[in-house]
Amino acid sequence: MKWTCEQTELYLTDYLDGALADDLRHAFDAHVNACDRCTPLVSGVTHALSGLRALPELETPPRLVYNILDATLGPRETVTGWAAVRAWIRGVASPRFAYGSLSLAATFLMIVTASGFNWKKPRLADLAPSNIYRNTNRQAHLAYARGTKYVSDLRVVYEIQSRLRQDNELPTNNEGTVPESSPQKEPGRTDGTSPSTPRQQNRANDANPSLQVLAEELPVLSTRLCFVLSEGRTR
């Protein structure tokens, strides 16, 4: 098909919109690729189109809508004096505003309290940013230390419980076996106490060092642990 530069200009929009039939499109491409005049024309129009489509959609100026409303429906009534105050209170008294204000106040109270502010003896210096930062930092470290200690205590208690449970679950057929290294097994005992069974003696020997360490680590349980230790020794 014989194709001319005038035809390129004529069909350019259809070509760019993808509305050109296949045979015409092939002829168009063949001519544009070979023509020094049409190649820059097509690339220039494609570039212009991409520039046009990249133009951003502008936001409406804020006053435009109000100006339109004023121009069509007339200017709004301006409220002054007590009527304006009443209108303001009516707007503020909405449930949504009240809920939002309460939430904001609660959040503020929590943050100030967490920062170590003393409500009984309030000082302006406590509200200084550097003091708030220092107090918050200290409170955070204290909370972390308490948490760590609590978890550690729990771990120790569970360890003791699991160890006692293991001892209680030992099979009864081992009751008569006596370890050779046990000092309680030695004959000639003269302290007047009735010798305990070898199993009980072994348990006391194993538990004592652990309980001593526990008593040092865990002051809360020290009274009870001292009792357990003394009981172990009397056996």
Partner: protein, 167 residues
Amino acid sequence: MRRHSRRIFNICYRFTGNRTEAEDLSQDVFLRVYRTLGSYRSAHGGFATWMTSVTRNLLIDHYRRTKRDRITDSLDDAMPVVENKQSSARRPDEQALLGELSQQVQSALTRLSPELREAVILRDLQQLEYSEIQTVLEVPEGTVKSRINRGRIELARILQQMGVRPS
């Protein structure tokens, strides 16, 4: 109204290239729509198309009214384009280049004749169908296609004259 006001404001701005004029014209459009709302019939097409017709008529009126002012200002208008062209070498950032290209395209758009400009704006910026543009411009579809085609080619030529070339 907010949806329509944004669309109308964008059409006005792209046609005039001036924010204040676009704002005033948008306001005039809504005022005229408000006054002539009784004359709207669904046979004229959708409400948005009818509003676009009102906008177009106002823009053409405004163009004719301010034609004399524009002729005297045309020499002043050419200066910022030259300055933009010179400053382009100092701004390698892609976003800045894109913003500059937008400015240049907007400047080229306002140099098109009003018939071609309105056709290009409605087709390539507002993405209207040919049938809708035909309703707005009140010309046959063949004329619409021809104006869009000539408008695009003319825009590419103006951009080339401004030194904006495809990379």
